[in-house]
């Protein structure tokens, strides 16, 4: 593939190749070191006690019994907890959350830390925690979305507008020949990365070293520095491997701060690993939503209005609101668009970003509502979407930086066999008599970029080291970013030493928003480019080089040689150039972020189309997704093997959202009744078959220097709606909540 983006670099040597994971060997041999795998000498174990009630206050803790248990060294309660230098009730940055670190005796949600026990062994710490036997003064908990009045606010998610209007929605409603007005609900969901949150904290003087999984290493350093009153550069975070993140491992949380405090207090390293049950509370979740969608269309099926109102649950003490209604912006060419959000404050842990925050919940409902409209209009669901295909961004009129959605629809529909779908529901049965239904949805995810920096150093022997504090939580960053770095230096992958996953390196930014490969990759690309530029300058100025005087033409870097652009007969090996220049290393650096003017000029999104087949037992109502075809256009794919895995994973998260995941509160007592992996269902292997991913070719000259759009989150969007629509198509029954439960399909 010719590359016109940068005259120095030819793509294709490494990028675009389906190489296996660089960390694969470590991960299959058990030598990949996750945070809790560290056990430094003289270490103590910390266990926090979670509140058993959802609202009230702690009136008693048997600290004597706990402290007396053999092996227990310290018991921390609000009465004796040493001071923090930063207040956990502050929000020092827009990404901060308020949290509980034993600042008082109040209980704001079930699962909140109310005490900490430190001991010589994990067993002793657990037993000490049990012996504390808390007593409470209980107030009536409010955990149902109807338990409080919705209120309006300014910003949803992280600083997104709570209300967005384009055109005249009232006129859109008035002019509609057909309209629907439907309300859907989505359940609270918990990230539940397989690795629970864990930290090993160690102080040396006023220097803090943290082995912990972090999706945002620099931000973590700054955050912990704030709470402990030390400079950010005194905090070392080592996060070589994350056992999954999904949005939950980016920010400081109460349990971490308590463990670090215990380490400072005891002067010994402290390990804390949350239990699975403790993951349901203090470390974020996807907030419950209730969404009303009013759609209007003219007789031909052209949308006159998409009017999307979201109500989301948040905590009583913080304000992260799932920006679900924003999922209706930017996707369909409606005459008018309105997205509004309100929130409900409940006695729950604060929600936070969880894989496709807003987009997942919002897309689920939008895609089902469109299906309901298609039914009303007598249109094929795909036809309705094509009728409302947006050639430019609805509302703003901005051109898309690229948009191969039409190809996604076509290739996905072809692979799935969508054309033979009967319009009416309940028409198909398989050989075993199961009801069969087909549904589809549009996948859509923005392409944000954050800020990242990187260094690259080319050594005299034509090997290189590149550095950025990027993180791999399973998305394959170590591999894809190394591929980008190798290309930027014109070197084979095995000549590049890729350093990432810890602080003390150039800031690799945040692994989130599906923007990490684009951002950290952009910085690496720039750093490598900086090295090659310097190398070219040395060669062009060196009369002994075949490249002498060719500076104006520019160079192509490949396989450790520089070639004159347009004249492959003139080239020289890096080793020779460097040898003559005294053998010195060449160090370069680079950074990446999106220029504001670029963002002004184009709308930038990844797109896709997901087609689902479900089979349903007509008597038992058991549902099974039997086929799922997703066609995605996400710009340049750096590593097809890993990108496909990301998209598969996202689509299975879609199955999970549609059919499985739901934290269920006991609204009388306020706790979550299924706070473990037996009760909180995610799919097991047997729930997943018939998956098919198509990556549709797309080149995007505007989105960023590398043309990358990101694949981490888009797989969920589209999929949830496609499954909901397939269930309707199988049964004729429209279930307006997720997850769809087996009993929702009862006919009587």
């Amino acid at each position: 593939m010719p590359d016109t983006l940068d005259p120095h670099v030819r793509f294709g040597s490494n990028s675009g190749q389906p190489v296996t994971r660089r960390d694969g060997l470590a991960k299959v041999t058990g030598t990949a070191t996750f945070a809790a795998d560290n056990t430094p000498d003289n270490m103590l174990y910390a266990v926090f006690v979670p509140a058993a009630i959802a609202r009230g206050r702690v009136t008693g803790l048997d600290t004597e019994a706990a402290a007396a248990h053999p092996g227990v060294t310290h018991v921390l309660t609000p009465q004796n907890r040493p001071p923090l230098q930063g207040d956990p009730s502050d929000k020092p940055t827009m990404f901060s959350f308020r949290f509980e670190a034993l600042q008082d005796d109040s209980v704001r949600y079930a699962g909140q830390p109310i005490a900490l026990v430190v001991a010589e062994t994990l067993e002793a710490a657990n037993e000490g925690a049990r012996l504390l036997n808390p007593k409470y003064e209980r107030l009536t908990p409010r955990t149902d979305i109807d338990d409080a009045e919705p209120y309006a606010f300014e910003a949803a998610g992280f600083g997104l507008p709570a209300n967005t209007v384009h055109g005249n929605p009232e006129a859109g409603h008035a002019s509609a020949a057909q309209a629907i007005d439907v309300t859907y609900e989505t359940a609270p969901q918990y990230h539940n990365a397989m690795e629970t949150h864990a930290v090993v904290a160690k102080w040396e003087g006023d220097h803090l070293t943290l082995d912990m999984p972090s999706q945002a290493i620099s931000m973590s350093c700054a955050g912990f520095a704030y709470y402990f009153g030390i400079p950010a550069e005194n905090v070392t975070v080592r996060s070589p491997y994350l056992g999954g993140g999904f949005g939950s491992k980016a920010i400081p949380t109460g349990p971490y701060v308590l463990a670090i405090l215990a380490a400072r207090m005891t002067g010994r390293p402290v390990k804390m690993m949350l239990t699975r049950q403790q993951m349901f509370g203090p470390v974020g979740h996807r907030g419950q939503t209730r969404q009303r969608l009013r759609l209007g269309a003219d007789d031909t099926g052209r949308l006159t209005v998409i009017d999307h109102e979201g109500i989301a649950a948040t905590s009583t003490f913080d304000d992260f609101v799932e920006p679900a209604a924003n999922a209706s912006q930017g996707i369909y060419a409606a005459g008018a668009l309105r997205s509004t959000h309100r929130a409900v404050k409940l006695d729950i842990g604060t929600p936070g970003p969880m894989r496709a925050p807003g987009e997942a919940s919002g897309s689920a409902v939008l895609e089902c509502a469109l299906d309901e409209l298609a039914e009303k209009l007598g249109l094929d669901p795909l036809e309705l979407r094509l009728k409302n295909y947006a050639e430019t961004e609805p509302g703003t009129g901005k051109p898309y930086s690229s948009k191969a959605l039409r190809e996604c629809y076509a290739q996905g529909a072809e692979r799935f066999g969508w054309n033979s779908r009967p319009r009416a529901p309940g028409q198909m049965r398989d050989e075993d008599g199961l009801l069969v239904g087909w549904g589809m949805g549009t996948a859509f995810f923005p392409c944000p970029m954050f800020m990242a920096e990187a260094n690259a150093t080319l050594r005299a022997d034509s090997t290189a080291v590149v550095e950025t504090s990027a993180v791999d939580m399973g998305q394959g960053a170590w591999t894809a970013l190394a591929q980008i770095a190798a290309d930027s230096l014109g070197l084979p992958l095995d000549k590049v030493d890729f350093q990432a996953g810890r602080s003390g390196l150039p800031d690799g930014g945040v692994a989130g928003g599906s923007g990490h490969t684009a951002t950290a990759g952009g910085a690496l690309h720039a750093a490598g480019g900086d090295v090659i530029r310097q190398l070219g300058e040395i060669a062009a100025a060196d009369p002994d080089s075949p490249l002498y005087g060719a500076g104006n033409a520019g160079f192509v870097a490949r396989d450790g040689r520089l070639y004159v652009a347009g004249d492959e007969s003139r080239s020289e090996a890096y080793t020779d150039i460097l040898a003559r220049s005294g053998g010195a290393e060449i160090a370069g650096n680079g950074s990446a972020s999106r220029a504001p003017e670029t963002a002004e000029q184009h709308a930038m999104n990844a797109h896709g189309a997901v087609f689902a087949e479900v089979k349903i037992d007509p008597d038992l109502c058991q549902m099974r997704v039997t086929r799922l075809v997703g066609a995605f256009a996400a710009g340049r794919i750096i590593n097809p093997r890993l990108a496909e895995s990301q998209l598969f994973g996202g689509m299975i998260w879609g199955i999970s959202f549609a059919l499985h995941e739901e934290a269920r509160h006991d609204h009388k007592r306020g706790h979550i009744v299924n706070a473990d992996l037996a009760g909180y269902h995610v799919p097991v292997n047997a729930d997943v078959s018939g998956l098919d991913v198509i990556t549709v070719h797309e080149e995007d000259p505007y989105v960023n220097a590398l043309g990358i759009k990101g694949v981490g989150e888009i797989g969920i969007t589209g999929t949830v709606g496609a499954i909901g629509n397939a269930i309707w198509h199988a049964t004729g029954k429209r279930v307006r909540r997720f997850p769809i439960r087996i009993e929702d399909l009862l006919t009587s």
Partner: protein, 277 residues
């Protein structure tokens, strides 16, 4: 807490009392340990001689108390045990089946214990060892309620006994996930057929009442039924033993409706397998 690993039943019995907890596979005991105070001692039965394995003597199949679900799956057993084998395959995961025991599943007395309906349909009895010697009690009487069994602190379940029988067994389990799932409902049946009609049916249902139950009224109504007649009989049957509740896994209304389908299919499974062989 101390752990004892006796090598004889008498030695095991001598260690009981005073809050001792008995375990074999431990798959139910350990998770519970993390929620409560540690017991003064634990008595591990896996080393007790003769407690593991399945044998037939004097018309009784004897499933030793330390027999795992995997042992059941691999044992050569007559067709009436097909339901028990079906249950064995669905208890937790294979990892659980490799250590979890049949007797442990009974003693844990969860309303959702997968093994219990299959054993009830086999008219299983529980052999209890104690200071006054062994006694036998029907499984239906042994489990008195959720987490409540007819076992004194001085006693140990030494085996589960199943009378030799003809007929074909079957088992079906309904869960919200395809595997690794706590049952919404499960049905076990053992059916004897003569000609093309049922001569004797034994049917048990779990997860739809505090303790799994035998549906004796239905069993009688099924006598003489052909495969084609089974769904109608099940649909019209009075099933007073089933008192499902709403829980996190499914609603009572769903269970009430779905369980009849599940019963009819399980009985049909048992009849059709016989037709084939």
């Amino acid at each position: 807490m101390t752990l004892h690993r006796p090598e004889s039943l008498d030695e095991a019995l001598s260690l009981l009392g005073g809050g001792a907890v008995v375990l074999a596979g431990g798959t139910d005991v350990y998770p519970g340990l993390r929620d409560g105070p540690p017991p003064s001692r634990m008595v591990d039965l896996t080393r007790v001689a003769g407690l593991r394995g399945i044998s037939l003597r004097d018309g009784l199949w004897r499933i030793g108390a330390a027999t795992t679900w995997t042992d059941v799956l691999r044992a050569e057993l007559p067709a009436c045990f097909a339901g028990l084998k079906g249950a064995a395959r669905e208890v937790g995961s294979v990892q659980i089946q490799n250590t979890g025991t049949v007797a442990g599943n009974i003693c844990n007395a969860s309303p959702a214990a997968d093994g219990v309906p299959a054993l009830m349909a086999l008219d299983a009895q529980v052999e209890v060892a104690g200071p006054e010697g062994p006694r036998r009690v029907a499984l239906e009487q042994f489990i008195r309620g959720p987490r409540n069994v007819d076992l004194r602190p001085s006693e140990i379940v030494s085996a589960v006994l199943v009378p030799e029988a003809t007929g074909q067994g079957a088992f079906r389990k309904l869960g919200a996930r395809k595997y690794l799932v706590i049952s919404i409902a499960m049905v076990a049946a053992v059916v004897e057929v003569s000609g093309n009609a049922i001569s004797r049916a034994r049917v048990s249902v779990g997860s739809c009442s505090p303790v799994a139950v035998r549906l004796r009224g239905l069993e009688e109504a099924l006598t003489g039924a052909t495969v084609a007649e089974v769904p109608g009989i099940v649909a019209g049957a009075d099933l007073p033993g089933l008192t499902p509740i709403d829980d996190v896994r499914a609603s009572a209304a769903y269970r009430r409706e779905a369980v009849r389908t599940l019963i009819a299919r399980t009985i049909t499974d048992a009849m059709e397998v016989r037709d084939v062989t």
